[in-house]
Symmetry: C2
Subunit: 335 residues, 2 copies
């Protein structure tokens, strides 16, 4: 392990995984953390609870399609929802840099409230710390959340079987490209908006209709490629993605080509990957496409038996390449 | 309201209260947040849960008697425990400045684990973000926590009656003075150690024995004076503190005199204030003094009927002065 913390330790990719395995899992050492889901699931008095936390350090604070407040509420709601939970309550802890304009804070708090209301969750506890000018970058927000798990079984990779299908609810890469377009160091214009949104309503409609839903993940940091690698890793199946089926806006694809990004690794903030039994694909797609956040849902791949533990891409030309987890740090401060 | 965020907005004092009332309560607008307890209490399937969050930005990361990790675990445990809850699970979200030495992070994570184990809670979910050098100050930690409320009724100021007694489990000001002694801008030597500790075990022993326990608070930011003002504010009673009964180490008192601090406003991280029915004082003191974290427990005041909503100090000379909430910011980055 490197001796100093690098930006890549926060990228969600290889160094993040190493830090989690070699430090956090080793030290904190408990079976609930070990599962490394988007939420931890614990049972208390016969109810299964999901508990999740995320800190948001996105730069800039406002981006096309959202702001750090909308992101902080959506992100934690989504981590609960993809664990099969109905999100109920959130906390909101702010670390503010001295000198932040109050009107900016007000806008962001309004945005948090609006997003929470839309998702039917309440923000019920909070904390505010202020640090000296230069000791933080504007504003960092932590949201943690709790929800009740409504699926019959806990969703997990162990339930995945050969021939299950991989579905995504829309285009990839929008959040990263929208955020980047507002950074000083990048000089491009785009109409692309972040997909940042709470997905619990969409997911709530899918769960009761699809008992063959095996697992869900939200492909945030590290993107579709990294998240699917986390799903397949150390399991006895492979995931095959079909390049020409993965929804991506033409503009996002073009910008990626110019800037040298692989969209499979770009963060999304309003996307969910469903892994579902083959027989329930049509039902899932019908429900998802009827929802405002699932109109562009597509089957993007399937589960195979080999090569075990791997994710690969069937390219448009029919060739096959292994898709690994993110190495290095494609885009820091994207969430 | 001032137009920019000042350090005082994070002090726990007057500007913090203003920000909470005029922004957070107004926007987030719900009855659970409105209670503004150390934890929010919600009921679900006939179980009352406590949910709490705190971000820790203390400077320096290591101080006599503890470090940011021990503090982050103790602090959130204490916020749950003073709400009458048995803390069960914590989250841990890190914001790390690029370049932090890995060995420092390891020490802090070990300290979190040790503190959690001692308090019988598990850290079951987490998040790691890394920001560029200069965009944060070393390390910030958010811990959120959930626990089950075990008291028959929710502890609250509404239950407080005239003649109830105020008890504290030991000396005030140790945490602030210990932390300050390690800051470059202060040049003094001291043997004082932070009182930073998880109080749930002590509190768990008191709760079943003392049904006349009306309320607890941990006097962290803003100190004893501010926290008791929060208790009395808008209530139909007054709190009288007895100056000569408030436990304080001679060395802390001397340093306060030299530096011009009022110890009533200094943050504590291992202290709890009990407000208890007069008839149960002896029982509470006996249990508390038998516990390693309560040896120096003392009655420090009582509840009177007038002046309603106020806290005042009966000084050593018998005079009386009103103690208000903290104005300005005595010591930033103390927790």
């Amino acid at each position: 392990m490197k001796e100093k913390i690098l930006l890549s330790h926060g990228s969600g990719g290889r160094l993040s995984h190493q830090l989690i395995k070699e430090l956090f899992l080793k030290k904190f050492d408990n079976s609930l953390l070990e599962k490394l889901g988007d939420s931890a699931i614990f049972e208390e008095k016969n109810i299964r609870w999901a508990f999740s936390t995320d800190s948001y350090v996105i730069k800039p604070l406002f981006f096309p399609g959202g702001d750090i407040g909308k992101l902080a509420v959506s992100g934690t709601i989504n981590d609960l929802a993809v664990a099969g939970a109905t999100p109920l309550f959130l906390s909101c802890a702010l670390i503010i840099e001295e000198g932040l304009e109050l009107s900016i804070l007000e806008k962001i708090i309004s945005s948090m409230k609006e997003t929470a209301t839309r998702a039917n969750v309440q923000i019920i506890t909070g904390d505010t710390k202020v640090v000296e000018h230069g000791s933080a970058d504007g504003l960092f927000i932590n949201t943690s959340g709790v929800g009740i798990v409504t699926t019959q079984e806990n969703l997990s990779p162990q339930r995945i079987e050969v021939n299950d299908r991989i579905i995504i609810n829309g285009t990839i890469g929008d959040h990263s490209i929208a955020t980047l377009s507002k950074r000083e160091e990048f000089d491009f214009q785009t109409e692309i908006k972040s997909d940042c949104a709470p997905l619990n309503d969409l997911i709530d409609k899918i769960i009761p209709a699809c008992p063959g839903l095996k697992m869900m993940r939200d492909p945030t940091r590290g993107g579709l490629a990294t998240v699917l690698n986390e799903v397949a890793s150390e399991q006895s199946f492979a995931i095959e993605l079909w390049e020409k089926k993965i929804p991506i806006r033409q503009e996002v694809a073009s910008i990626c080509e110019i800037l040298g990004f692989d969209p499979l690794y770009l963060a999304n903030e309003g996307k969910v990957i469903f892994i579902v039994k083959y027989q329930e694909v049509d039902k899932l797609l019908t429900i998802a496409r009827a929802h405002p956040l699932g109109k562009e849902s597509h089957i993007i791949g399937k589960v195979l038996s080999e090569p075990k533990g791997k994710v690969y891409l069937r390219t448009e030309f029919g060739s096959r390449r292994i898709i690994d987890v993110l190495t290095g740090d494609q885009l820091p401060r994207i969430c």
